[in-house]
Amino acid sequence: MTVGGSDYPLVNPAAVAEPPAGGADEGIPRGGRVRRLSGSDRVVVALMVVIPTVLVIGLVWLPAIATVVLSFARWTGVGGLDTIEWVGTTNYVNVFTNYPPFVPAMKHNLLWLVVLFIFATPFGMFLAVLLDKEIKGSRIYQTALYLPVVLSLALIGFIWQLFYSRDQGLINGLLGTTVDWYGDSSVNIWAVLVAASWRHVGYVMLLYLAGLKGVDPSLREAAQMDGATQVQTFFRVVFPVLRPINLIVLVITVIEALRAFDLVWVINKGRNGLELISALVTQNVVGEASRIGFGSALATIMFVISLVFITIYLSTVMREEER
């Protein structure tokens, strides 16, 4: 701008440009290298950066990388690392061509996602909207609907077993049918999805209810003043305002579908119509004389699928932040 290089017209460029000729300590308080942090602050900041980094690297990234590396190996998990035999992509070839449960597992995980996304999640949202109306006994409904979320999925599997058991179950007992709910591979995935949705609905309901409580009532009033119907108010005003909650609900739905495991494991260890990738990983890795490499290959495939969703989620969130 000016010849002297100073942006401040009132400052004489010559006075600023000339650094003090004295000792180094003289320049520190006012110079470019201002020390804003005290020694203890620096330690705290360093710890705050280092500890989470170490935890994330040690507990997330190293195991993840080890899984990917091991997926190219054959190892029983017994003996030292020198007993690992490197076999290239054999495990992957076997997963895709020589492992009958793999394709059903992929299908079931996808089905899980679709069912939760199309039925359970919208239904949970619907219940939340109803409960938000402060109807009579709203607390009781809330508790009843949320109760399954408190229970572990393993326990849910057991509870539903009482309904579904072919010979001694409630459903067949009431209807007089002999449907083999858990054993017939053409119906058991649906039976399980009902149980999984039962829980998921309560979860989504609670999340969404919390979001609805946070909506500014004046927005609704304004919409009503403009003559909007209840449905219009929800879809045109409330739903868009709840965008952050919607995103969380969506992400939770995806996560629930990907990590679906406990329920099928309790029922029949993820076999015979209830194959899921997570169950296959566990079948192969956990246990005596395990197929660590083969299981790792399955886990890696699951990891890649998760990455797709994680990428979509992160890119959406980041775009959000840029705005």
Binding site: E85, N98, Y182, G183, D262, N268, N272, V285, G287
Partner: protein
């Protein structure tokens, strides 16, 4: 025991026995996850539970030990017997040992049955208990071959009362012994004599007679053969016995070792025979547990049930229950091979108290030890042939008789072959066969192809 010795035991207190089989999965998973960590150098989970053994009482010397000289100190014993009945049986055996060796203080570390099995790798590679309960057969040889079990040939040299079949089952690939058998139990066809007497049925001697009997039962409104395979392993028992009847014991063992083809004519014949028998089996077996199938026998809705003698737990406490070995199919092969899985004790590769461990294993091989165990758990019979059989129930007496007369004893499919092959290939493929028997050709091709990918190491 007023205080739980381990976390698993503590948690197990909250689980009613009826749920125990199912509700542990979350914990199992957790332990599995931790166990996976252990593979990367973290301290193993199970070993961490082993603590809590109290100081040895120093009043040694009074009771002369059965086999070894006076030993003392603390001895840690890992047990997978978490169900109440066998848990008490282990404790009774330990008490009997401590009575004879007052210098030794045994701390029993009981872990949930399935958890113990799934964590055995990490358990043995960490700091295992001095002695632990395990299974005979491939399941034992595998860990012995990895150097994870202690050689107890010196103990075996002094044991008496075990037939060669037991010694073979306790011997590793290197010809040394690694396991002291405690008890075993036969797989056979169980039935209720009161039903059979009322209907005038007789024990079939051949497969044809069995088929005829099954047809008669159907006419009489009974389900001929109770069947359940929700958990996947009961069908293995059916496969084992059919294969041993059709192709003989040696072929069965070779097949289990991966030396024979699964898609060859021999195995095909086994499955064809099975297909012909399936119409007489209880339908919808893949959703049923063995306990539920046993209930149909108990309620006299089904005529017979091929299962291990533990079925007695479900049927009238073993009253009004009899059984016979699966009938002959091929006269050239006969009917003298059965599945009779053996359980016993093994020693860790590097026990802390080797003298006490040796003394305990020597005691476990005595007839008295077998007596103490099966008295508390009467669904099994003592492995030692010199054990006192006078207190046996009818089922136990017959079990001992059948095992004694069997020429060849197999352990069970998941104990005779690689565990990974049994659980990740055979189990789902047998279920696939039961679901759609017509697919047997492609199922056997798939088994063979998967077998090759697993047995190459």
């Amino acid at each position: 025991m007023s205080r739980p010795e381990s976390e698993a035991e503590y948690l197990a207190r909250f689980t009613p026995p009826s749920v125990a089989g199912t509700s542990v999965a979350r914990r199992t998973l957790l332990r599995g996850a931790l166990g996976a960590g252990a593979a990367f150098g973290l301290p193993p989970v199970l070993a961490a539970c082993g603590g809590g053994s109290s100081e040895s009482s120093s009043t040694s010397g009074a009771g002369g030990s059965a086999a070894a000289g006076a030993v003392s100190g603390a001895l840690k014993l890992g047990s997978n017997e978490s169900d109440p009945v066998p848990k008490k049986a282990v404790q009774d055996l330990v008490d009997a040992f401590m009575k004879a060796n007052s210098g030794v203080n045994v701390a029993v570390n009981t872990v949930d049955h399935n958890t113990f099995q799934e964590n055995i790798n990490n358990y043995l590679q960490g700091k295992p208990d001095d002695v632990f309960k395990w299974f005979a057969g491939y399941r034992m040889r595998f860990f012995a071959a990895q150097g994870l079990a202690g050689d107890i040939s010196d103990v075996w040299a002094k044991l008496t009362g075990f037939s060669d079949a037991f010694k073979t089952a306790a011997t590793g690939d290197d010809g040394k012994q690694y396991l002291v058998p405690i008890y075993n139990y036969p797989w056979a066809v169980f039935y209720r004599p009161s039903v059979w007497k009322a209907k005038g049925y007789t024990v079939p001697k051949t497969l044809d007679e069995m088929t005829t009997l099954a047809k008669q039962m159907q006419k009489d409104g009974l389900i001929p053969i109770a069947f359940a395979d929700k958990d996947g392993w009961p069908a293995m028992g059916t496969f084992d016995i059919l294969n041993m009847r059709i192709n003989g014991y040696q072929f069965h063992i070779d097949l289990m070792a991966g030396k024979k083809a699964w898609n060859g004519p021999e195995v095909k014949k086994v499955f064809d025979t099975w297909t012909s028998l399936l119409p007489y089996h209880q339908a919808d077996s893949l959703g049923r547990t063995w306990q539920e199938a046993a209930q149909s026998l108990q309620q006299k809705k089904s005529g017979m049930y091929l299962l291990g003698s533990f079925v007695a737990q479900q049927v009238d406490k073993g009253q009004d229950l009899d059984f016979f070995t699966f009938p002959e199919i091929d006269p050239a092969i006969g009917a003298d091979a059965i599945d009779a899985p053996i359980d016993g004790f093994m020693m860790a590769a590097k026990p802390t108290n080797k003298a006490a461990a040796t003394a305990f294993l020597s005691f476990a091989g005595t007839p008295e030890a077998g007596n103490a165990y099966v008295k508390a758990d009467p669904s099994n019979v003592a492995a030692n042939s010199k054990s006192d059989t006078s207190g046996y129930t009818a089922v136990q007496k017959k079990s001992a008789e059948i095992i004694g007369s069997a020429k060849s004893i197999a352990q069970f499919l998941d104990r005779d072959t690689r565990p990974d092959f049994a659980s990740t290939v055979m189990l789902p493929q047998l279920q696939a066969f039961i679901k759609d028997p017509k697919n047997v050709g492609s199922i056997l091709d798939s088994i063979e192809s998967q077998k090759k990918s697993i047995f190459t190491s």
